[in-house]
């Protein structure tokens, strides 16, 4: 997936959770990504986060620590 598309989709999820109270919203973003994003996508996600996370919504950045890092052999 292109980085732009991945960032866009993460921010789209965050946009929904913005209508929730802050902590709940951040937790919601993490839960959603953990539940539905395949390890390859999460790996790419962390590559972008580790490179500074430019372009991500604040909820996504805050949620990142609660998102599971994929294990090396997955995928």
């Amino acid at each position: 997936m292109s980085p732009e598309k991945l960032i866009y989709q993460a921010n789209q999820i965050a946009r929904f959770f913005h209508s929730k109270p802050h902590a709940e919203g951040v937790a919601g973003v993490a839960e959603h990504i953990n539940k539905f994003w395949e390890p390859r996508i999460r790996r790419q996600f962390f590559e972008l986060i580790d490179a500074g996370g430019k372009g991500f919504d604040e909820f996504v950045l805050e949620a990142a620590p609660a998102i599971r890092r994929p294990q090396a052999d997955a995928a």
């Binding site: 997936m1 929904f16 913005h18 395949e38």
Partner: protein
Amino acid sequence: MSLIQEADYGTPASKAEKQVKLTVDGKPVSVPEGTSIMRASMEAGIEIPKLCATDMLDSFGSCRVCLVEIEGRNGTPASCTTPVGDGMVVHTKSDRLDAIRKGVMELYVSDHPSGFGEKAGTGASEFDHVISLVGLAENRYGVEGRNHVGADNGDGVAPGNGSLTIDYMVKDESNPYFTYDPSQCIVCSRCVRACADVQGTFALTVEGRGFESRIVASMNENFVDSECVSCGACVQACPTDALREKSVLEKGMPDRSVVTTCAYCGVGCNFKAEMKGDDVVRMMPYKAGKANHGHSCVKGRFAYGYASHPDRILAPMVREKITDPWREATWEEALARAASEFKRIQTKYGRGSIGGITSSRCTDEETYLVQKMVRQGFGNNNVDTCARVCHSPTGYGLNTTLGTSAGTQDFDSVEACDVMLLIGANPTDAHPVFASRMKKRLREGAKIIVIDPRRTDLVRTPHVEAAYHLPIKPGTNVAILTGLAHVVVTEKLYDEAYIRDYCDRDAFDDWAEFVSDPLYSPEETAKVCGLDDPEMIRQAARLYATGGNAAIYYGLGVTEHSQGSTAVMGLANLAMATGNLGKNGVGVNPLRGQNNVQGSCDMGSFPHEFPGYRHIAIDSVRKIYEDLWGVTLDKEPGLRIPNMLDAAVDGTFKGIYIQGEDILQSDPDTKHVAAGLAAMECVVVHDLFLNETARYAHVFLPGSTFLEKDGTFINAERRINLVRKAIEPRARYADWEATQELARAIGLDWNYTHPSEIMDEIAATTPTFAGVTFDLLEREGSIQWPCNEKAPLGTPVMHIDGILRGKGNFVRTEYVATDEKVGPRFPLLLTTGRILTQYNVGAQTRRTGNSVWHEEDRLEIHPHDAEDRGIRDGDWVRLASRTGATTLRALITDRVATGVVYTTFHHPETQANVVTTEFTDWATSCPEYKVTAVQASPSNGPSEWQIEYEELSRQTRHRVNVEAAE
């Protein structure tokens, strides 16, 4: 197996609770109050001759054949119009009755060319049956009736239109599926009433009086040119051969039948497949079918010819490269090739480099096997289904709010509905049999609110007029739903008691505060949604909240948006707030697109969940399957279809097994799908035809139609319907067998001998299906899940005495405008949909007589927009978006508002999905098919893509020693 004859009781069943006792010909009978004598007699096993009566229709009392005698009453009343009374003593046979009936029939016969001879027609109609029932043996009046050709010319051929007999009308053979022979007609008006009362189209009428009385379609037009929607209810109702299936006239009456379930839309109609040998003569709607009650549409009843179409591929095929010609292979060779390729790919690129797609057209058992093969055999969760592109937001939205991923009601519930809120669905085209039920209820006085950018039929059609039509701008569903909620909350129209008892109070308070913001007032909402009159939003909300039982019906116009899941939650919010759940006549009802989209979702076709919507990360659930299947299962979610294509382009996804889905034609952003498929090393397509996706395939496995297999489909009301094999699989294997063979080829030890064994496995592992067996389905006809210890016969209406989730969860639904925005280059909004006679990508319906009604996809455009661009009706138009361009012909109509254009996607040449965007629902990746910013301009030829595609098509479709398909 013999021909199943469903008894015709003559008049509909009474729903009264009070029983009435009477005797008929000495036999005691007890029936509900309000039952006709005709029906009571039939229930006692005594058939009264009848012509104008049938139990699909209210009694009419015109034919005078069904007369009876009642002790203590004068005369001979018609049994169809006379209700039973307590203690009544009825006689259906006497010399007097015999004489009257014979006299009546003799008159009919004198103006009827067949019946008394066997010159024309089938000689096997109800009319012929009644003649023998009344024992008519002579005709003293001759057969020179005024409405048919002279007796000398009894072969039914007219020497000119009415030249010998003044009232003669030639046969109308314009409809591809049935003929209308006016000379056979007895003007009983069953067809007229079926068209009006059952179908609700009002296309037929009786023209003229006395001998000149004729049934005519619309303004005395040919059937095919009239308003007739070819549902066939009139043909089914006709007691003579006046309206008769062409297939019956060609092949004769069928001699055996099998009850099965239609494989088109999510209504899930039951049919009797009526056959002669292995030849399907006709599909007759099954009266005992609980979804359709004996009705059908033009697709289910007539459009089954694709099953025997010469384009069907009946042998497996293989090739090295997609530019090679296809070569026929044995099943063994094709399966071995697929299996060895999948293994090679996994060894080289990793466990997650392959996956599968289950089909929402196939049975539950078949989709279950595909996801099982992926999880058990491939060792990953890379399985998805076409529900991804239609109703995945329904699952997410309803699960979040109510705790189940399914509609709340049965279809019969509409009979108790007072207010319908129809949003983003066009049932008269996409779910026609249920639309007829809606129209019937609307004629009885229920009201309907239609929210749709287009003026669909239910906005205004004979005897139906929407109370409110809100033609919102495509993409603003969430805004309008929040606007409606604003009115419900600020005017305190919500159901305080329901919320207190059944919903999460904090969630409600939070939501109520959110929607009360003046930002969501009707005035502001109208601006966002492009509506002229804010007051209409207010009135619609009041009607929904206070008009009695209110039911929401919705379709893909809600789900296929970047906020699809949010909109579904918005619908559930409204239903919970107004207490419209958990009883008859209410609810949140998704109208499912495909025959088994509900079932394929139920069967664990999604990459994150097992059957019964249980997440794969839940250890206890994984253990159930690990113990049964003897493997360790992956607890990470797999790839969704769009992710698979992304991963393919990235080089990490290399092989796929696609069961009955044409992703290249049906998924958005065709170029991206094509690039993904082209990047794969082994694409296995399992389908009836060489579909568009097959152009990129290396192995082709021939599929079986619904007529060729056993199994179950689950319709939009969670109804598990049996599919029964009518004929042997034409390509050797039913689809479940083909998948099983593939699974064996990759080393799995599967030994199912019948789909019922697969269902047993589903029941044993899925709590909501715990009680389901084929035996139970045989016994009950069908069952709505959940079916378990608590509900051994299933659950027609959900959330009774409490919402399944525990407490209903209100969710804030903030409107976020889609990023697919109009601008100077792309000033119009394109939205897409279906037409009655065609179905989805058209692979089936285009291969039937239905093409008479829809030869091509057209672009609907408002006269103002057309004039601005110099586009005339029928002109070729170039339709361009940021994604791509295509050409199609214009249809100028004010059904669409200015600024909005609309098209269908039934024809591959149109390539509508070259144009659609790649934006998707935030939660489920369901594509935003319903909103694309486009420009339309006059054109004189196909787009570059269409030309390239045609060339590719030529290159990738040829077969060795076989004529090219299509």
